[in-house]
């Protein structure tokens, strides 16, 4: 089938590559700008995700994936159009809808963009007003960054907002290769699908902020939050996911989903107290490593040197949007601290963000990065950080202080190697039996 896909989100890229891989001929329209140029002229990709770059290159070579500018015209208008636009760009969605309405070849419009609840129905209404009866379905973006391709091709669940039988048949056909083991598609009204997607994000965020509050208590009580997490997670009513205390969540999607949900609640004059607190706690949490650093030195930090391991908001991505690394670096800058960073993937993104903003030294080698440092902050749980060479690390640092924002180390083991160690919610446990 021929498919036209509009947008430059991660979801757009994954959808384009995956649909091309399963045999569709995809015209991928990108907004003019930096990313578009990077992709088309230098063959680079928009998002760093496992397997994604290779797949895009492969599909382009095979001729099934073409990248075009937003206002270019492909060979002929396709019967199915996907929209995977950035949040807050509803104007662009309207422009595509007008284009579809003018074309008359389109049999289905699929909206994957994260817009406020009710947006897919607004697009539908616009089409009807233009005298076109093309149905609009909503297929919310539920990809997990860091494993985006996998969550698209082997989904655990698919939310589909659709109230047109013919459209449902068509979209089921398109999704068939990813829906084989068992039918994971849940069909509902478009606004229900949009709402459900935001509600999922809100719930996950709430769990994280809850755990971060519990982590504060754990520190005060001298217990390790990890024991509490295991105890909670084994209760089937709760389950194990999203119970990790840490230095705050970020990313382009997750936090903007929660903000969008908060705005929607306020729009309807429902106070968004819980979600506001969730976001507030998260903002506080993004600075938790800074506060630990500050307290360790009793506020006397001017001129000290700090190293961040990890800048991406999660492993296997180069995205830094809304991540804790940014809040930390700003806080450190403000206190005239010398900031050094290592990240396997996100250094170019970070450098771009820091330009004209403040001084920051980027390193290719994590041990080089900690040389002469007064603290190491672990911000992203990249696999390569889990088992460092403790002796080298100790020799390199000026002050052996480890601030573990992802609780990836064993506190006792690290302390045994001569480090001061602080994690998130990892109070110093008392020995099992008091020694006599």
């Amino acid at each position: 089938m021929r498919i036209d896909l509009f947008g430059d989100t991660l979801c757009a890229q994954v959808t384009a590559a995956a649909l091309a891989q399963s045999g569709h001929r995809v015209n991928w329209y990108l907004p003019t700008g930096r990313v578009d140029q990077a992709l088309r002229d230098q063959g680079r990709v928009l998002y760093q995700e496992p397997g994604l770059a290779e797949l895009v290159a492969q599909q382009r070579d095979a001729g099934r994936l073409r990248c075009l500018g937003f206002n270019e015209q492909g060979d002929a208008p396709a019967p199915v159009v996907f929209l995977a636009l950035q949040p807050g760009t509803f104007d662009q969605a309207r422009a595509v809808v007008d284009r579809v309405a003018a074309g008359s070849a389109c049999r289905l419009l699929v909206n994957q963009s994260t817009f406020p609840v009710g947006s897919s129905e607004k697009l539908q209404a616009r089409l009807i007003k233009a005298g076109v009866d093309t149905p609009v379905a909503c297929l919310p973006d539920t990809l997990q960054e860091g494993m985006a391709l996998q969550t698209f091709t082997r989904p655990n669940h698919i939310l589909l907002g659709c109230n047109d039988d013919a459209a449902e048949v068509l979209i089921r056909e398109i999704l068939r290769p990813y829906n084989r083991r068992r039918d994971v598609i849940q069909v509902m009204q478009p606004r229900e699908a949009e709402f459900a997607k935001l509600a999922i994000s809100g719930m996950l965020a709430t769990r994280l902020s809850y755990m971060n509050d519990m982590a504060l208590l754990a520190e005060a009580l001298g217990v390790d939050i990890d024991m509490i997490r295991q105890g909670m997670g084994s209760d089937p009513r709760i389950g194990e996911a999203y119970l990790y205390a840490g230095c705050g969540f970020g990313g382009p999607g997750f936090s903007s989903d929660v903000m969008s949900l908060t705005d929607t609640l306020r729009d309807k004059r429902i106070s968004a107290e819980l979600l506001s607190d969730v976001l507030r706690i998260n903002e506080r949490q993004k600075e938790v490593l800074f506060r630990k650093f500050w307290r360790h030195f009793d506020g006397d930090v001017k001129g000290r040197r700090v190293t961040l391991w990890g800048a991406a908001f999660k492993p296997n991505t180069d995205r830094i949007d809304n991540g804790p690394a940014l809040s930390l670096i700003e806080a450190l800058w403000a206190q005239d601290v010398d900031v050094h960073v290592h990240d396997p993937l996100a250094m170019p993104e970070l450098q771009r963000w820091a330009n004209g903003h403040g001084e920051l030294t980027c390193h290719d080698d994590p041990y080089q990065a900690v040389r002469g440092s007064d603290a190491l902050m672990v911000v992203t749980e990249w696999k390569a950080y889990w088992s460092p060479d403790w002796d080298d690390l100790h020799a390199a640092m000026r002050t052996p202080l480890i601030l573990d924002g992802r609780n990836i180390f064993d506190p006792d083991y690290v302390r045994g190697h001569g480090f001061d160690y602080q994690g998130i919610g990892r109070g110093q446990r008392r020995p099992a039996r008091p020694s006599k």
């Binding site: 506060r291 500050w294 009793d298 506020g299 206190q335």
Partner: protein, 545 residues
């Protein structure tokens, strides 16, 4: 340079001429004055720096103003203004200049001032960006200004007046003011605050003011109790000091990085333009604070460069002298018709009465005329329900000062929700104009055929000045306050007194120290007068029970 002599033959002659003029014309009713001259407003209103001063409702004519100018000339006002701006020791009892105007001068002429402004800006920026950290590493959310007198009234008044304006970037902290020595402000405030996110600003020119230091000590005790064992981080992270005495700040424990300085040549009641204005800058942003300074600088230029007949501080100073010394009106009411200027009356009370509540001339002689009138005030519409009765039907003549903004900024926004507020602004303006009219004209403002019993009658002829600001912006407020400052100086020159000292408030501090001993031990009371001894004894007894 020699200062002009106060008491000269020309001055006596000018004074005598005014006295005769007052005898001939002083009792003329304002209604008649308006009737006489259709151009009265044009002749007797002045504008500059975004302000209009209408003195046509004062009991005077253009002839009065020229006679007053004669007196000012004879008192050497022109030379005095030059001396002020040359940095001569116009504060002769303390042998130093009064250069508050320098706090708003340009960078090339006042590099030391701008260096402190830059320090202040870094501090403000850090707080607004949420990057000033308490000792636990949290961003500061609340700032407590601990100060009294000039270190309280000016910053409080201006912060409150301008708080509708927000810093363009960042998140402004809540700013609180603590001044009273009895702890009645500081104690309940601290109960509400989170110690980890509170910053204390200790403001004292001398850094010896007992009111301020006891409040600061209470705050320090609270923080150290709540956050023990921080190796000095409490002082380093939670205290800023603002003073002309850096060594005393250091001795008290203010970290050097957290000190802002001003200078001996700034009087306390003239200090809101210095780092003492930190709460203002935190409320409206540093850019807004610089606008405030720019407005004051506009007025400094206006005062120096404008011919007297159009010079706002000169004209207003002369009017006050006329009312007090020639019409014998010994009270003045300051009546802002704007809730944002709620604290302006107390600010003006201090500025004028602490400056000009004096009675000895430079020659060391007692003055032979009144100096500063008794000044009090209140937000006008509220005062209408309080003391306006006295203004309208009492026996005391009172000169009134109406202050009002022609526009209220928020009104320029669209939307029906603003309509109501716009109506409220109109209503307030209407009341302001109606009151000054009724006070001036009395029954002449009412329909001619109205028959009233005696107790309902309005005598009128209460003089007033209306100060109309284009709007209450930082710049216009700066101009307004500098207008008051310079007006005070003009009056002091005409009265022959030093407006920049305050010896009258020193001795009370000293004898209070002795009284503490009497209260604590009962010792030393024998030398007291019977009243003080009995009161001290009674308080001591009740405290022991």
């Amino acid at each position: 340079m020699d200062f002009p002599r106060h008491d000269t033959d020309t001055a006596r002659a000018a004074h005598q001429a005014l006295r005769e003029h007052a005898q001939q014309t002083g009792e003329r009713h304002l209604a008649a004055l308006f009737e006489d001259d259709a151009q009265r407003f044009e002749r007797l209103s002045r504008s500059g720096c975004g302000l209009l001063a209408d003195i046509s409702k004062q009991r005077l004519t253009t002839e009065t103003l020229s006679l007053l100018s004669e007196l000012a000339r004879a008192r050497g006002l022109q030379s005095w203004i030059e001396c002020l701006f040359k940095g001569e020791d116009v504060n002769w009892t303390e042998q130093r200049p009064a250069m508050h105007w320098r706090l708003r001068d340009t960078k090339d002429r006042a590099p030391d001032v701008h260096a402190q402004l830059a320090r202040m800006e870094r501090m403000v920026d850090r707080i607004l960006r949420g990057q000033w950290r308490g000792c636990e590493g949290d961003a500061i959310t609340d700032v407590v200004n601990v100060g009294v007198g000039g270190s309280d009234l000016g910053p409080l008044m201006a912060s409150f007046a301008l708080s509708e304006q927000r810093p363009p970037r960042g998140h402004r902290p809540r700013v609180h003011f603590v001044s009273s020595m009895d702890g009645s402000q500081v104690a309940p405030l601290l109960q509400e605050l989170n110690p980890a996110t509170t910053l204390i600003v200790v403001s004292s020119k001398s850094f010896t003011t007992v009111d301020t230091l006891t409040n600061a000590a209470t705050a320090r005790g609270w923080l150290e109790r709540e956050m023990p064992g921080r190796n000095g981080a409490v002082l380093r992270c939670h205290f800023v000091g603002i003073s002309a005495q850096p060594e005393r700040m250091s001795r008290w424990g203010i970290h050097e990085d957290n000190q802002l300085q001003f200078w001996e040549w700034v009087g306390g009641r003239y200090s809101l333009w210095s780092a003492i204005g930190l709460p203002i800058a935190l409320t409206i942003g540093m850019q807004g604070f610089r606008e405030l300074l720019a407005g004051a600088h506009d007025m400094d230029r206006h005062f120096q460069d404008t011919p007297w007949q159009d010079n706002l501080p000169v004209m207003m100073g002369l009017v006050d002298v006329w009312n007090l010394n020639f019409l014998n009106i010994t009270a003045r009411a300051v009546l802002p018709y704007d809730g944002r200027l709620k604290h302006l009356p107390s600010y003006v009370e201090q500025l004028e009465m602490e400056s000009n509540g004096k009675s000895v001339t430079r020659a060391g002689e007692n003055v032979t005329h009144h100096t500063c009138p008794v000044i009090w005030g209140e937000v006008g519409p509220n005062a209408q329900h309080a003391f306006y009765q006295l203004l309208h039907q009492g026996t005391q003549p009172v000169a009134c000062e109406f202050i009002v903004a022609a526009r209220h900024d928020r009104l320029n926004a669209d939307g029906s929700e603003f309509k109501q507020l716009e109506d409220q602004h109109q209503l307030t303006l209407a009341n302001c104009l109606a009151q000054s009219r009724l006070l001036a004209l009395g029954e002449h403002a009412l329909p001619a055929d109205l028959e009233l019993p005696a107790f309902k009658r309005y005598r009128g002829n209460q003089p007033s000045t209306t100060l109309m600001l284009d709007e209450l912006s930082p710049r216009h407020l700066g101009s307004l306050l500098a207008l008051y400052e310079h007006k005070v100086f003009v009056q002091a020159v005409l009265w022959g007194i030093n407006p920049f000292d305050q010896w009258g408030v020193e001795m009370g501090k000293v004898i209070a120290t002795d009284m503490i001993q009497v209260l604590e031990s009962g010792q030393g009371g024998d030398n007291l007068d019977a009243s003080s001894r009995a009161l001290a004894e009674r308080a001591r007894r009740l405290n022991q029970d």
